[in-house]
């Protein structure tokens, strides 16, 4: 097994990539996917620590993270659909008025 630090580094890098995606992309779907990326980076950390500490709780929490991520993605996509129906765009810059 690779040392814990390797996994943490990988996780940090993937997380940073996810952050970059959220900041620079101008497509709501890609932004949402970048958020999933960040969540996965965190999951990786949890699993790595779970393995390293010999504690199953890390894996349990990952299961919960997945549950919440599923709910989040579904609701997010529903919002995107409903925004797209109103505005015909997915660019967050077009949604600065806090209203339809």
């Amino acid at each position: 097994m690779a040392p814990l630090h390797d996994y943490l580094f990988l996780s940090a890098i993937i997380f940073a990539i996810g952050v970059t995606g959220v900041i620079i992309r101008r497509n709501l779907i890609v932004i949402l996917m970048s958020i999933e990326l960040m969540l996965n980076a965190v999951n990786l950390t949890l699993i790595a620590f779970s393995r390293s500490l010999g504690a199953i709780e890390g894996q349990v929490i990952v299961v919960f993270v997945m549950t919440v991520a599923a709910a989040e993605a579904v609701v997010g996509l529903a919002i995107i659909i409903s925004i797209f129906r109103h505005r015909q765009t997915l660019d967050p810059q077009e949604m600065q008025m806090l209203k339809w």
């Binding site: 952050v19 959220v22 900041i23 620079i24 932004i31 967050p92 949604m95 600065q96 008025m97």
Partner: protein, 639 residues
């Protein structure tokens, strides 16, 4: 000295009847019809009167009655209850309010019989009685204030009763506004009293508790409090400088004038000071002020009454003058005498007003005395009742006014806080009183008739429903004073009655007998001179003398009531309105709006700049958020 208090749930019925009937007349009056509404209103007051009599009868045995209804406000240790209390002082007031009130109600049945708004009239009248009863029976200052304000409201409603006439509504407004000025002082006084006592750890407004702990307040504060309270009393009881509303208030129906402005409402101030006598006794300076203002009011109002030609205005100034007497008595510490004069005054002033009402009624609404004269054969009953009341007011021997006024004069001279100057002012006023009363008497009933021809045929005596109350009041004017005869005659039942309330004999100081008799004779002489002069100028010739006999200037001065209204207009109202206008149109627009708008503009400009930060773009926020995270992380890294 503790007064034993007995609970008596009957008390709540006394104000309840008028209240219920007022509500009934307001909501169901149209259905009942005029006649029934009047009769029901009278019945309600009759019931209250009978209950009051019953209470009066049982009071000496009990000491005082109390009826706790419910707790109104409860905050910490402070508790204000809606509870009624009747002690000797309140009992006197109850008798006056319900008794004289009942007579006026009955009289109104005749006087207002043809009026469109009779239902409304009786509703107001009952409401007025209710509030007055509440004021008198309240066992704490807060409830008293409720009644106080309610009375003010009702006076406004009743003065402006014939609201179709603009001057009436103006008069109603004036009464209300001037009263508000006094009420403001009153309210401040209550709050200050409450606060100062609270600072001493006593959170209360109950009269009984106040009496226990009034001495805790520092003298300066007591002086301030009592002066503020007196401002309220001056407003309600029409003292200098707030008396101006009362003469104008004569715009209301005459029975209203009798009820409000002679017998009951204006006595509220006197009653309040008597009720809080323990507090005022702690403030000698305030008492001096009250005495001085009372004496001055008495004198000046009497002089103003000299030259009036309106039959009700003369009486109005007379009322102000007599109230001045009462305040003089209060000021010299003769609380009992003040209440006694209030009591007798209620009879003869109500009698005078109602008699005047009878005259006005007979002449179809004419109020100018210059268009009267020689009415004696037409109105025999009114003539007699008027004469009796006028005699009482003038202080003719053995009438009610004689005893009460004599007591005040005596106290003004003899009591420790009295003085020669106070006495002499009151003494001169007594002469003036006799003069203007009989001037009026002669102008109305004697001499040549100056009644307009078209009215002459219709002059008639009032119906029995009006004359009966007149006769009762006339009898009262003669005999009510006998309750308070001086020691050297048969002694004062009155002082025995009120003694438990005002406390020991220190409230009724007595000079020696010879001095007392001397003062009495002097007062009689003054009244006699007044009467003689009135006869000389107005009674003998049967004509109205040329007004300029005493030098045109002084006469005009008096006729126009010292131009006080004009003075107030110039000094207070105009500067105030013009100042307000300046504030509204120049200061407000130019300065305040300028400052506010300028500020708003600056803020707007700043906001327009800073709001760029809030782009609405989530990604910008995230970048800021990330930058913050980076800084925090860097901080921990750098440590």
């Amino acid at each position: 000295m503790a007064i034993s208090i007995e609970p008596l749930s009957l008390l709540r019925l006394i104000p309840l009847f008028p209240l219920l009937m007022a509500a009934g007349n307001i909501f169901l009056g149209a259905w009942w019809g005029k006649k029934r509404s009047g009769l029901l209103a009278c019945a309600a007051v009759t019931l209250s009167f009978l209950l009051s009599l019953w209470v009066w009868w049982h009071l000496p045995a009990a000491g005082a009655f109390r009826d706790h209804l419910f707790t109104w406000i409860e905050s910490g240790t402070f508790k204000a209850a809606v509870s009624l209390q009747v002690d000797p002082l309140a009992a006197v007031m109850l008798f006056i309010i319900t008794g004289v009130g009942l007579l006026i109600h009955i009289y109104s049945l005749g006087y207002m019989g043809h009026d469109e708004g009779m239902v409304r009239y009786f509703a107001y009248l009952n409401l007025f009685v209710f509030f007055m009863l509440l004021l008198v029976m309240a066992d704490n200052l807060l409830l008293l204030f409720v009644g106080w304000e309610g009375v003010g409201l009702c006076s406004y409603l009743l003065i402006g009763f014939w609201y179709q006439d603009h001057t009436n509504t103006i008069a109603g407004n004036k009464a209300f506004i001037v009263n508000r000025i006094g009420d403001f002082g009153f309210l401040l006084g209550i709050l200050l009293l409450f606060w100062e006592l609270g600072a001493q750890g006593v959170w209360t407004l109950d009269f009984a508790d106040l009496k226990q702990s009034a001495h805790l307040i520092s003298p300066q504060k007591v002086t301030l409090i009592t002066l503020l309270l007196f401002a309220g009393a001056a407003g309600k009881s029409a003292q200098i400088p707030l008396y101006v509303w009362l003469p104008d208030a004569m715009q209301g129906p005459t029975p209203v004038s009798a009820l409000i402005h002679a017998a009951t409402m204006v006595t509220a101030g006197v009653y309040m000071i008597a009720r809080l006598h323990f507090l005022f006794s702690l403030a000698p300076l305030t008492l001096k002020v009250i005495a001085a203002i009372g004496a001055l009011t008495a004198f000046f109002a009497a002089t103003m009454a000299l030259a009036q030609n309106d039959i009700k205005r003369v009486l109005a100034y007379s009322t102000v003058s007599q109230l001045g007497y009462m305040f003089l008595a209060l000021g010299v510490g003769a609380f009992s005498a003040a209440i006694f004069h209030l009591f007798t005054h209620a009879f003869f002033k109500a009698g005078l007003f109602l008699s005047a009402g009878s005259v006005i009624h007979a002449l179809g609404g004419e109020q100018d005395m210059r268009k009267m004269g020689g009415l004696r054969p037409y109105l025999p009953t009114t003539y007699l009742t008027y004469l009796a009341s006028a005699l009482a007011l003038s202080g003719a021997p053995l009438t009610a006014g004689f005893f009460s006024k004599d007591q005040i004069l005596g106290q003004a001279f003899a009591s420790p806080s009295g003085s020669f100057w106070l006495w002499s002012l009151a003494w001169v006023t007594a002469g003036l009183t006799a003069f203007y009363m009989f001037r009026q008497f002669f102008m109305v009933f004697h001499g040549d008739s100056r009644v307009e021809q078209r009215l002459k045929a219709h002059i008639h005596e009032a119906p029995a429903v009006m004359t009966m109350p007149l006769m009762v009041l006339a009898l009262g004017s003669i005999f009510a004073g006998w309750l308070g005869a001086p020691e050297f005659l048969w002694g004062s039942l009155w002082d025995h009655w009120l003694q438990p309330f005002f406390g020991g004999p220190e409230g009724i100081p007595h000079g020696d007998l010879s001095q007392e008799i001397l003062l009495m004779l002097l007062a009689l002489a003054s009244a006699g001179v007044g009467f003689f002069l009135a006869y000389l100028f107005y009674g003998r010739s049967g004509k109205i003398p040329d007004a300029s006999w005493a030098g045109g200037g002084l006469y005009r001065w008096l006729l126009n009531r010292y131009y006080v209204d004009e003075l107030y207009d110039r000094v207070l109202v105009r500067p105030l309105t013009s100042g307000a206008g300046w504030c509204a149109q120049i200061f407000d627009l130019g300065f305040i709006d300028g400052v506010v708008n300028g500020l708003a503009h600056r803020i707007r400009e700043a906001s327009l700049f800073w709001r760029r930060l809030q782009s609405g773009n989530v990604q910008h926020y995230l970048l800021g958020f990330l930058a913050g995270t980076l800084i925090i992380l860097a901080y921990y890294l750098g440590r």
